[in-house]
Amino acid sequence: MNKHLNLLFLATENLLRHRTKTIVVGLCIIAILSPFITAIAISEGIRAQSLASVNAGADLYLTFDEFGRNAAIPLKYLDEVKKIFGVTKAIPRIIGRAFVQNKLAVIVGVNKEDLPESISCISGRTFENPNEVVVGCELAEHFRLRINDQFSMRGQQRKTFTVVGFFSSDSSIWGSSMILMSFKDAGELFGKQDVATDIQIHTLPGHNSEIATDLYDIFQNEPYRLQDKHTVELYFKKGFMLKEGIFSALYLVALSLGVPAIMVASGFGLSERKKEIGIMKATGWHTLEVLELISLEQLLISLLGATVAILLSILWVKGFNGAFIAQFFVAEITLLPKFTLPARFLPLPCMLSFFFSFILTMAGSIYSSWRASTESPVVSMK
């Protein structure tokens, strides 16, 4: 036990003695791991938030189908849908996009009584009268909107709206650039009366398949599309995987440049180290003891590098709100997100980061150390 403790202390002292090398290797590890840990944390945060939204949403989503894509559904079917046994609530919505000056906003038209519980006004009130809107916090901040301010939007036709409140949402990434208005106003803005982009159907547990059969009877020859929670969840995941894929591709390029750098840095002072290993062997050290010392040094530097990388990632997300990296995961946001970016730091990616840095540093040093310690001490000491 004392031997291993001695080696651990010596490894620590060696890292302090070779300060420059320790700092360079540590910085390489941090430069490689920090973006990775930050990205994973943001990705996990968004995934968790989207799944929470799906879980809090409707059980079924009903739309029409046109060319294999979702299409607006006529409201004439709403009453029939509501009457189906097992349906507790059917909520028609209009979801679209429109420019407010040069910024694209998500327009959600829904009846006041059907507003989701996850949306709450942080100031002002919800819409009650025609042409009143409630605006998401990021948009409000971007345009410096205040209560009772008026602005116009062009959909199918130009309409002027009055801001009556600002809202925050549990799903910060979607809520931030959203404008909520009444179903009727949204229909007028987009020039589509008597249709909804979808109908959210809340059901009693275990009734979905019977409801689907009933809907089939209702629509007969009409092309309609019915999606359950699970399908929507899959869409979300698929979308994130695509975004993550873009990040992964870029990260891979950075990594392919970073790995040789860290391996070169780990091998700094190789000739001096080789000589030192020769002296160690000449004075009675075993090859395994030499390798244990080298491994402990790499373990300590990996632990140090990975810990600092994790702390920097937390600072990056919590302090700087994922600046410069969030755009890889959330569409159409600026370099500096104006809403609180969701993030989750899970233990597994942090552990993997540590192992990854350990393997990297080991790869840069263990082979040369093994070679030096298995050669005759005379050769290593030269």
Binding site: K3, L5, N6, L7, L10, K275, E276, G284, V378
Partner: protein
């Protein structure tokens, strides 16, 4: 105590540049003796000491230490042998540059599990013995050649070895230190240590029990 039998060491074997550093060396060294290998540069004395000291392996032949054929020993067994029986003094000192004197001296004790306090005490005692008690925290670059060699001597003694192998111990140091090293090795000899020295310094011959003259890898 030490016996070699038809020892050969060849470098760059079977090539145009083949060098026979040791050629058919057979000798026997008894316990507590002071043996000097004398000869010009390139005569093979360092190579012979490296092989006897298990720092290198022979191309052919056998080396016996206390009756054991060490040429068949594994890497770990050779390390154990060095740890228990040998102490080395090198021509170039071979101190670790970033370590202080006491750390260099106590380095062989680290894998033995000796605590830092005990290591420091043992190193301090040995450094005082070689009159470097006031240079405990100096790194090799802060010491003269003679002082570095005395640190190396202290390191060679830290494991209480039965055999001291000294390769040109006086060639890189001044005359005054040379005398001290000589006296020190002489004193060691009377404390029961077997001492093997490779040198072309003739002053060692006066205190040696046996002197082997070497030329072109052979004992002449």
């Amino acid at each position: 105590m030490i016996k070699t039998s038809a020892l050969y060491k060849t470098y760059n074997g079977r090539s145009r540049h083949e060098v026979h550093a040791i050629h058919n060396v057979t000798l026997e060294i008894s316990k507590n003796s002071f043996v000097v290998f004398n000869g010009p540069s390139g005569s093979g004395k360092t190579t012979l000491l490296n092989i006897i000291g298990t720092l290198d392996r022979p191309t052919e032949g056998k080396v016996f230490i206390q009756g054991n054929d060490i040429t068949s020993f594994s890497d770990i067994a050779l390390s154990m042998l060095r740890r228990e029986k040998f102490g080395f003094i090198f021509q170039d000192f071979h101190l670790i540059p970033r370590l202080t004197s006491w750390e260099n001296v106590s380095y062989p004790l680290i894998p033995l599990g000796v605590s830092r306090k005990d290591r420091e005490e043992r190193a301090k005692a040995l450094l005082e013995k070689v009159e470097l008690g006031d240079r405990l925290d100096h790194t090799p670059e802060e010491l003269s050649g003679g002082q570095q060699q005395r640190v190396a001597i202290a390191r060679a003694l830290v494991n209480n070895p039965e055999i001291i192998i000294a390769d040109e111990p006086t060639s890189n140091i001044d005359d005054e230190t040379r005398e001290r090293v000589l006296e020190f090795l002489k004193a060691l000899r009377y404390s029961g240590t077997t001492i093997l020295v490779a040198t072309h310094d003739t002053s060692f011959e006066k205190i040696a029990d046996v002197v082997y003259k070497m030329k072109n890898g052979r004992i002449v």
